[in-house]
Symmetry: C2
Subunit: 226 residues, 2 copies
């Protein structure tokens, strides 16, 4: 049954997808997880629901196509970059009339401290080119640590930079993400994803580095000092 | 007279260069400003010294070639992107044995809310390619607002992401910049400049936007929340 406020998280059984599912459910937003294997998604949903209080809408799970169809409007894509193009091609029919939130970072194969951008410039631009202009793509949530998302004792230590070529779609995504108690910023057109996606490997580098006294760093927009 | 701790700021009569000169002088570091017009640089230095207390080493000014020669080791390049290649070609002989700190952001002509990257990927990579591997290039200080730098009543609200292919040079630059009472982070190889330089137009966009309740935003690496 389609619920207008329900969001889908494609690739929802990975660490980032699970953490986002928990955070959105805690914010009262119904979530359906998608996976190539619908049974695995349903099983993951069951496990996640055990971490949630009774006031949270239950997370459900399904195959990617069904999960996309079950989304009211907003569909989060959270697959490894290696599955980015194929997943989008598979889901293009179901994405008609929806907005895709692309959180994928094209990390270089074997090197999480670098990106290897697709020919279009970034994953978000690749998705927009692949889906066509009738399906708005919004890049967001690239820089949040999966460990932080899954540690429900912690607030999210990261502002969310949001980009895309269609302003109305960006506003809907910013309104959604703001419910996670984070600051969201309109960071411009889809081409800003070349920067935003590439912040993630810099944060991964800092997290690995022994020179930095903490892990799971986020990034924040800082107002002027007084 | 060469002073081993003296730094040069090429393009030092622009807003970013002047602000950095003031901040470094306040930290006790001797600064020589460079300009194509040495007399203009000297005049700017005189003006800046009037803003500084008597305990600060005086800022001096000279033409770009002389200023580069007068630097102990570290030379900051702070010219508009349109002058990036030509300035580096001119100064290559004087830069031998020094380290270039490239702070230039290749903003798109006529659009400060976008970058237009050179073929090498970023200004820092362009500089490294042009100067050759014997002159280390370190990208840094791209994201600090010139307005903030010149407002000496304010602390700098921006962490400094530093990148480059030669670790020892990066360490020297991080040690220098740390004296401005900011946090510096090793953000990886020169290719990280594709991201770091591109953060600046995103900040400019936010500063222009009426949706954001402040201007002169910086960026910060955020530790985990508690």
């Amino acid at each position: 049954m389609t619920n207008s406020t329900q969001i889908a998280i494609i690739g929802g059984t990975g660490p980032q997808g699970k953490g986002l599912a928990l955070r959105f459910a805690m914010a009262g937003i119904p979530v359906v997880l998608g996976s190539r294997d619908g049974q695995k998604a349903a099983q993951t949903a069951t496990e996640l629901n055990q971490l949630l209080g009774p006031h949270c809408p239950p997370i459900t799970g399904s195959d990617n196509q069904s999960a996309t169809e079950l989304a009211g409007e907003l569909v989060i894509l959270s697959v490894p970059y290696s599955a980015h193009r194929a997943t989008l091609s598979d889901l293009k029919p179901q994405l008609t009339g929806k907005v895709l939130i692309d959180i994928v970072v094209p990390l270089a194969p074997g090197n999480p401290k670098a990106v290897q951008m697709p020919a279009e410039g970034s994953a978000t631009e690749e998705a927009q080119a692949l889906l066509g202009d009738d399906i708005p793509v919004v890049g967001a949530l690239h820089n949040v640590s999966a460990v932080t998302l899954n540690d429900l004792t912690r607030a999210i230590n990261c502002d969310i930079l949001v980009c895309g070529n269609q302003l109305e779609a960006k506003k809907k995504v910013m309104a959604l993400i703001s419910q996670l108690d984070v600051s969201t910023y309109n960071a411009g057109l889809a081409e800003s994803a070349r920067c935003i996606e590439a912040i993630t490997p810099i944060l991964i580098r800092l997290n690995i580095s022994k020179e930095v006294p903490f892990s799971h760093a986020g990034i924040r927009i800082a107002p002027p000092s007084h």
